[in-house]
Structures are given as C-alpha cells and as structure tokens.
Amino acid sequence: MDKVSTVSPEPSSGLRLLVEKESGQRVLRCYQCGKCSAGCPVAYAMDLGPRHIMRALQLGLEDEALHSSAIWLCLFCQTCSARCPNKIDIALVMETLRHLALREGRRPAEKDIQLFHRIFLGLVQRLGRVHELGLGALYNLLSRHPLANVTLLPRMVAKGKLSLFPKRAKGAAEVAKLFAKVRELEKTSPLGKEQ
C-alpha cells in the first residue's frame, strides 16, 4: 500500500482506459474521499479497499488491481456506489476488473470464490436450475475442503431444506444453448461487445 502513495500518476494507463470503456465509469473523477471504503462491509478483509483500487487504477498499478482480493471479495452490495459523492459506480468498476482478470487468465487472489462461481454456473448450464446439495458437494470436493460447511447438513436435511437428487428443469436444454452462444460470442469479441 506504500507503493500506492509514492508512485507517480499514470493518466494513460491502458487498464484504466479499458475499465472506463467497459464500465462507462470515469475513474479519474475519484478524489479519494474514502466514503466507499468507510461503508464497505468487506473492506476489513480486503488487501486493497475500494478507495485503494480506484487509486491503483488512477496510478496505472495494473497488477495490484487485477491481483487484488478486493475484486473477488466485493459482494456487489453497492453501498459504495450509492454513497460516492462523484456518482462513480464503484461496484461496477470492481466487477469490470474481475471480468478483465478472468479474461486475461490471471490467478485470482480468492481462488475458492472463482471456483464457486464456476461450479454454480456449471450446474445451471446442465440442470437449468441450481441444485444446492450438489453445489455444496462439488465445492467441497474440488476446493479440497471436504469438511467445509458439513456441520449444517444434518439439520438442513432434517428440516427438509435440501432435495437430495438433482432434477433437470424443463428449460435446461434451452439454457445449455444460451450458454454455448454466449461462450461462442465471447471468444470472438470480449463481452460480446464491440461498441
């Protein structure tokens, strides 16, 4: 973080320009008041809080931004966006950085969260809907935390909260096609968007 305050501004940073283009937000409007980090419920767990992320973008510290845990821990609660005096949608900036980090194949600082999203979407792609027990089981298996979250399991089953077997929704085949089309488009044009 010392680094953030000692390097010179890099107004033509490629990453900042890309983030601005894809998010429609103007990163240079941030004057570092810190309201975003003050209100962020997960800032305490991040390496760089939202204010630091904005600063890193302004200064062209691209690796710091793309490798931060912040872009994975952000819950998209949008408290920062709602309170920003310069009306910057900071949550959207965080999300855009996450998309870019994924596209560049960067190693995520929170790899379990990335894994969770992958498993979740994999289930939706196959079943059309989420199967919660399957989600938990696959996550435990693939994250190599076999005992994570098992304490709640007996009570959830007793309360009839979990269906044991996955069911394929009627719309599943259509969903699989939607996934395929999106993935195909994303290959040729990032975000399927060339505007």
Binding site: L73, V124, R155
Partner: protein, 278 residues
C-alpha cells in the same frame, strides 16, 4: 391501481431451501385476491455467479425470463431479492439499444426491456386497508431489506438506500411495531457462506446484535439469501428470522403449520406463542 394478476418467478431457492417463502407468498396472495401465475419452465436467473464472471451471461439468463413474462403479457412478480435485482437490472441495461439487439439475437423476444419487474413486497405494499384478522399487536419487528431491494436507487424499488420504509409500513398496517435500527440495508454476506464463511459470520452477527439491541422480537426479511445467512449461524441469544410473507400470513389468520414456520433453524413459535400470536 395495482394489477391483481402477475407472472410469478419463484427462483431456485424458493423450490428448495426457502420453500416456506414460496408457500407463504402464494397463500397470502391468494388470501388477498392476487393471482400469481408461475412462469412456465423458468430457469435460474444466474444469481451472483453469472454477472460476477460475464456481463453478457449476466444479461442473457435474466432476459430469457423477461421474454417468458413478455409472452404472458403480465408484470413479473419476483419473490427472491437476488432474482428481483438481476431481472430488474437486466431490463434496465437492455434499455441500451446495442446491448438489447445483441441479447435479443441470443435469447429472442421483442421487448424484454419493457417488462415491468416488481418485487413481492411492492406487490403487497398498500394492500392491507382493513385491520387484519389477527393483528400482530405487541410484536416488535426489525425490518431487514438488505442490498438487493434498494440499490441502485432509481432503478430498484427501494424508497431509500439507507432507511427504506415499505416493509415497515406493511408490518405497521398489520398492527406490529417496527424498530428503528441502522442496519436495514447493510449486507449480510451474500453468496459467501461456502467460500468465506468467516465474513458471513462477522456480518450476520453484527446485524443480529444490532437488531437485538434495538429491542426487536424478530427480524423480517424478503430474500432467501439474507434469511439463510441470518438464521443458520446464530450462536447466542437467538432471534427468529421470518419471511415478511409469513408474518403477513399470521396476521391474515393462517396457521403456523400452513406457513411452514417450523422450517427455520431458530424456531419462532415459542416467541409468537408468548405474544399470543401462534
């Protein structure tokens, strides 16, 4: 004049971990003469995972449900705050012409962006104009809105990003007292329970302790994710967490059994019995 017929999108959790929300929502709507027609063959809205990882996928999955509602020619009522936020934000983002054309090319539909998406709270707000059968007198409720009903302001339903009132109004119309507290729209930890349980515990315990300090007997929620994060990991001095539709159902004279009050980890029935409400 509000519609009395809606297309209804329950969302995945309402058919599994949050079945009591689905059941109570259908029962109270029926009791109030509101017809919910379930969207046929609905699929997942993509939740956090789709928009977190791909902007296009995060629009395409909700657009598929918007198209279904468009075909039904009805406003789309959504119970889960996460699904509501995804569907409503997608309709808003499809206001961008280029994005609309791109997404329509994948999903189909004519005007998915024009579908009116409403949360169940919005559907039920203002419907209680006569005193209910069993007023919730003496019950102190902390209304918890979370993030996904209120932000971003101007697009979603919330009347205020920090101090919304819609659920408070509804609970007051039922005869309950609502407590004033500062955590109405603080995040509960959202989709992190599997991956960063520590964060969910920190955030949810802070919320619970503030609700207790405000003198609440229970917390009312409008989102399955908030419900699970607040209900499942309580440690000391338990405080029941109920769906607002369950409290509404009680006031309308439905039984705890019909409303599936037994599904929660923290059993609300002893507290309700002590108040003469169950």
């Amino acid at each position: 004049m509000k519609s009395s017929v809606y297309a209804y999108y329950p969302g995945c959790t309402l058919h599994s971990t949050a079945r009591e929300y689905d059941v109570s929502a259908r029962l109270v709507c029926q009791a109030l003469g509101i017809e919910l027609r379930e969207v046929r063959d609905w699929v997942c809205c993509g939740a956090s995972s789709a928009h977190s990882t791909s902007r296009l996928l995060g629009l395409v999955l909700p657009a598929r449900e918007l198209k279904a509602a468009e075909e039904m020619e009805l406003p789309l009522a959504v119970a889960c705050a996460m699904c509501y936020s995804r569907l409503k934000l997608a309709a808003h983002e499809l206001g961008d012409r280029a994005m609309l054309e791109l997404v329509k090319g994948i999903v189909g539909g004519d005007h998915p962006e024009a579908v009116e998406v409403v949360h169940l709270l919005e559907v039920l707000d203002g419907r209680i104009d006569v005193p209910p059968k069993r007023p919730l007198t003496g019950l102190k409720v902390a209304c918890y809105y979370g993030c996904l009903l209120v932000r971003p302001q101007g697009i979603l339903y919330g009347d205020d990003t920090e101090r919304p009132q819609a659920m408070d109004r509804l609970m007051q119309a039922l005869g309950a007292e609502t407590v004033d507290w500062d955590f109405k729209t603080e995040c509960c930890g959202a989709s992190l329970p599997l991956t960063r349980r520590d964060i969910v515990l920190t955030l949810s315990h802070r919320l619970l302790s503030h609700a207790r300090q405000a003198g609440a007997d229970c917390i009312a929620v409008a989102c399955p994710m908030c419900h699970s994060n607040l209900d499942a990991y309580q440690r000391e001095k338990e405080i029941p967490v109920l769906y607002f539709t369950q409290l509404l159902g009680l006031a309308l004279g439905l039984s705890p059994r019909e409303l599936l009050l037994n599904k929660h980890f923290v059993d609300p029935v002893p507290m309700l019995k002590a108040k003469g409400l169950a």
